[in-house]
Subunit: 394 residues, 4 copies
């Protein structure tokens, strides 16, 4: 069993790891390869059990704790933090759904044993990935082409997933699929990585966040009955709607960390070259500082509310605001910091070169900034943005 | 004696007053006249004693309480909130400076009696104004042309002040002046409005925030010895540096209120005309919603820190961030809301017409946005922005 | 007969008038009153005949000439230039429609005599206004509530128009109306101001462009047969589509003039106060300079193409680009120039105070910036933006 | 001798080549290698002789012709166009400096033979590079560490240059150096690539514009007397000041081409995926279309004026405006186009992935956008931006 970090010390543990992550970021970014050493560090520090209840050996963290940890990790390497975010989404969603709520949506008793087993494994160092998006459907659950059907007393899942962060390195994947005979029924399964019928294709070669190694994964697997998350079919869309923190905005914290990292890198560069005497450079640093502070304050307010009133309409508005602002701030700040530093900062090896590419990804990850703006506009008008939008979100 | 509101109920009291302020805003704006009725309401609600300690009959509020109250008042009428802000700056700076700190900078015992008298009067409904800026010097204290010199056992103050919010309606003015024989010595005096030698000139006819009635005031007055704030000369610049919350950013809260008000007005207008079906309009509302939320979160974080660690360098950074973001957000949001609503919203009488003009003022009030950006850039570089800037701030 | 300016000397004539317009702008703005003296000057300079063919006593100008003149006039007073623009739209549309095109759409011979009479009157100093918009319909021709029906051998027109620039001061109005028995048939009539049944209501009290005196006008008039523009019914929407320069973008040139004027005012203010030593101020001036130059270049390119290939799809794209950029540039530049100059520039009487309000109007006048962006997006995708939009434009 | 294109047909020749450039861009970008095939195409098409007078076998193009050609080439591959730009700068500066001007600054008769030889070689397919920037000095000529001194009847040049586009592939380099005994004397030499003492170091691995292969080059070479450009020493800074088109803004045209290419790629992607039904996507395309059109119009206006009135203060203002707007437009458009297309467009191989990186480089190449803004601000204030700036430009 690995050392488990405490809830109080998790942020400090993350802060300690960040410099090593930063020093390795260049090579993982170059190769678009999974940050093996970073995850060895996270495992050793007990951070894979961050969201796991203490009774199961974890740190028992809440969403706000997660957000603070993610901002620190991302200041080291945003890609590592994004993979960690997927793991935290799986463990966090399981850990923070109360027994009452699980029963209310119909979870059978068998669900609780499965849940505890999954969470206990995380505090022992298991890593979970998410296999939701598809090339054609994107993240719209209602359009998924991956299907499931009963097979023996379990299920057979068939389809190809994309943007699967940590593919090939996770111990299990949360796979979203549609019932083969009822397109409206979307369910989630936790599929062990060693199951026969899983294949990772090395398709990942993107602009930024390259070390997430978000390769394509094809599934043609049979899973046992309790692999069905929640124990009943059809919870997929509901979960997305009531827990937007995990699908919409858990990576907001990551992009705040990336933005902070870009500001820090620029300050260091400017300071080392004596460029701080230039007023235009100071103005760029000052405006970036204010922007990062604002994004951080919003992510923290959203996270605080997720803990205090999860699923509440006002909480969800903060979640979507956090997504919009974190993504736009990261891109804007990184672009401006390059202008503050000049052409030499564009050389590979300079952290800003990578951060500029990483930072662009936030607004593009679903929900995109344009979708967030529409959601928030509907909410401001007193509508129900989940159901009143012209285009289905999930 | 007026009813005194409690610290806990002050925000609610402000929220109750706001609609009446809003309904009167059109005519005060048109006439650029002091909002007499709004201040009668504030007095009756006991809000003039907001910052006064409970032992002197006030609400004993802290800076964060003030910020919440100011945001609510400003959602009714930003100009009223700006005048209130000046009053709160005077009473708040007196109330929140500890006896220890006052003694540490050399305040004589006589200071404490004067302070208590001034504060007790506020809880009885006295209104204080600030007479700091001058046409040539702006808000740079080191450039003031208003002078003071000993006169009998008191002081004689001579000069002309501008941007004096509430001129002609305050019961006393906080006047900044330089010693006639030592330009480096800037002191502040509390001058009773009924003193002979005070004249208000009706010069106020600006773009926005018209109801502040910030007319010019000329002083040629003799004041008693204890009118000298702090009881010793030369504290003027020091106060500005250690309490930037009152000089730099207390009106940040006001502009968040103005921005919120612009968003609310647009939502109401859009809803009434069925314009919410237009995606471009929804996107404008959604982005404005996120922007206002961010500015509010930053103002609150700054205010919280002012209470917890006043004068701390990190606190001061949040104060300057709040000033920058509140001013820019208000202007950006108001401009976009006009675009969301269209030409009809430009007619006088439509709240957005006034809010667009009011909102532009925030970034221009000192410290301007460009000055804030420079201050924050220096701070990000680890410099001391008060003393390392190329141009003196005060 | 007034002096008629030549095509070559028209721009110079406009440049000569601008300073006098600027000096009178404060009072016309304050009173929201028609700039009587400016139009006396325009009439005396022969500029009301700008678009009139030389054979009818005019200057025979093209659209590019108009744009250059309008930029100069607007640098004096944007509101005056907007009224002038309406007059130029009426005379320009009549003058620049070739006899061939008029016959092609079915104009009877009687149309040509009417056209020549109207144009000749303009070179004698007649001023034409446009009465198109309505409170409910805005500028969507298909939604107009003003109707017309046959009356004797002429027509009876009934309805209330809004945003009628120069109301009460024009010699005739171009009135858009729908056939009472066929909502799809929109026609335009030229209605003499002295006709019985026209009443101007003083409703005009807006944020900016106040001196356009764009009051409401109610019509219940009978007009002779040849008042029907084009001589046949139903040309209204067609004209809007094939000549977007007059409905969409003729005032683009006005807003470039306003933006230039804001930059010039700021340069003068900054220079007078020695603020040019501040790098942040210089940066604002520099970026404004580039922005105004770009908007001017686009307006000129659009105007050049209107003359060379009127109605061509590529020409129309430039027309819509000009509308989008001129409106956004004016608003952005004026807002930034206020920040460059500081609080003192917000006092009424300072040109920037007025220019900031005037400049905001451009993006809001139809087609709004959001509508332009959509139109241009459709065009970029190879669609027909007039007919493929989800919402009808006219 | 290669085929020489005519002045009129050069733009069409460039347009024909662009698609092949685009198809090869992925691999040259990946490898950060010189686009050998693109330059074989340019040579075969006679475009290396674009700026060479017809009497020497070239096309006799002017600056506006160059700008049009560069926009077309850059729409294929911006990096290829940047290398071409360096070649055009050398040949264009030589070709477009009149004999009178050359004699006026003191050029001896021997200069003219050298000039004609260099230009004739270009029309035969010789490629010229520029070796100006250095790691410490950047592009500030007055700070160069590369020196020259007399050596026999020629010169010895020693130093290390960076950002040398096309290093290792040019036939000769234009090298800027300072006199070893007079730091104020900056001269330029044309150094044959086969000269002993030139070494290229493979240091080039940047964010964008990777195929420029702008590696470091060290020089320790002896050159003949007529290698001194202009035939007299000390012309370096003067040339930069009087011909800013070649040092400041010749690559403005390149970035307009890059911006256009990003828009075209997005239109194609959006169209292929049916994303044009989303209003937010259309709005992004529409605003990008207007922005690119504006930047193109400004670059063309600047180019037109360079031909008509080279070196005139008003011409130079347009040149700096073009630099500012082209760089900012490219970066803004490419970033927005990625948001229009979504995550899939971030995959390497999608043109937008590369264009986003390439587009960021424009504002950072000297003169940076912040420097341009300052220059333009000074010019707007009626100052001489070359000599009144606080920091020396060259």
């Amino acid at each position: 069993m690995t050392t488990t970090v405490g809830r109080e010390s998790a942020v400090e543990a993350a802060r300690v790891l960040a410099p090593a992550f930063a020093s390795r970021a260049v090579s993982y970014d170059r190769d678009a390869s999974f940050p093996v050493e970073d995850f060895a560090d996270l495992r050793a520090a007990g951070l894979l059990g961050l969201m796991v209840p203490t009774r199961l050996g974890g740190a028992g963290a809440g969403f706000a704790d997660y957000a603070d940890v993610a901002m620190e990790l991302a200041a080291g390497n945003g890609a590592t933090a994004l993979i960690f975010n997927m793991h935290a989404s799986v463990t966090g969603a399981l850990a923070l759904t109360s027994d009452e709520m699980a029963r209310a949506v119909g979870a059978p008793e068998s669900y609780f044993a499965m849940r505890d087993r999954v969470l206990a494994a995380a505090s022992d160092g298991a890593l979970y990935g998410v296999a939701m998006s598809e090339r054609a459907a994107g993240s719209r659950l209602s359009q998924l082409e991956t299907t499931y059907r009963p097979d023996g007393d379990g299920w057979r899942i068939s389809g190809v997933k994309t943007f699967c962060s940590g593919a090939g390195h996770a111990d299990a994947y949360l796979v979203a699929a549609r019932a083969i005979d009822d397109q409206a029924k979307v369910s989630q399964f936790l599929v062990a990585a060693e199951s026969p019928g899983i294949a990772v294709t090395q398709t990942w070669d993107p602009l930024g966040m390259r070390a997430t190694a978000s390769n394509d994964v094809s599934f043609d697997v049979v899973v046992p009955p309790d692999a069905l998350v929640g124990g009943i079919e059809g919870l997929g869309v509901l979960l997305a709607q009531v827990m937007p923190q995990w699908l919409v905005a858990s990576y907001s914290a990551v992009y705040v960390g990336v933005a902070q990292s870009a500001l820090d890198a620029a300050v260091s560069y400017v300071d080392g070259r004596g460029l701080g005497r230039l007023p235009a450079v100071r103005a760029r640093l000052g405006r970036a500082d204010a922007g990062v502070a604002a994004a951080r304050a919003v992510v923290r307010e959203a996270a605080r509310r997720v803990d205090a009133a999860p699923g509440h309409p006002e909480t969800n508005r903060w979640v979507w605001r956090a997504k919009l602002l974190a993504g736009e701030t990261a891109a804007t700040v990184a672009a401006s910091m390059l202008e503050a530093c000049g052409t030499a900062a564009m050389r590979r090896g300079n952290p800003l070169e990578r951060l500029y590419r990483d930072a662009r990804c936030g607004s593009l990850q679903p929900a995109t900034s344009d979708v967030c703006a529409d959601w928030l506009g509907l909410a401001a008008l007193g509508k129900d943005p989940e159901n009143d939008a012209e285009v289905r979100r999930w």
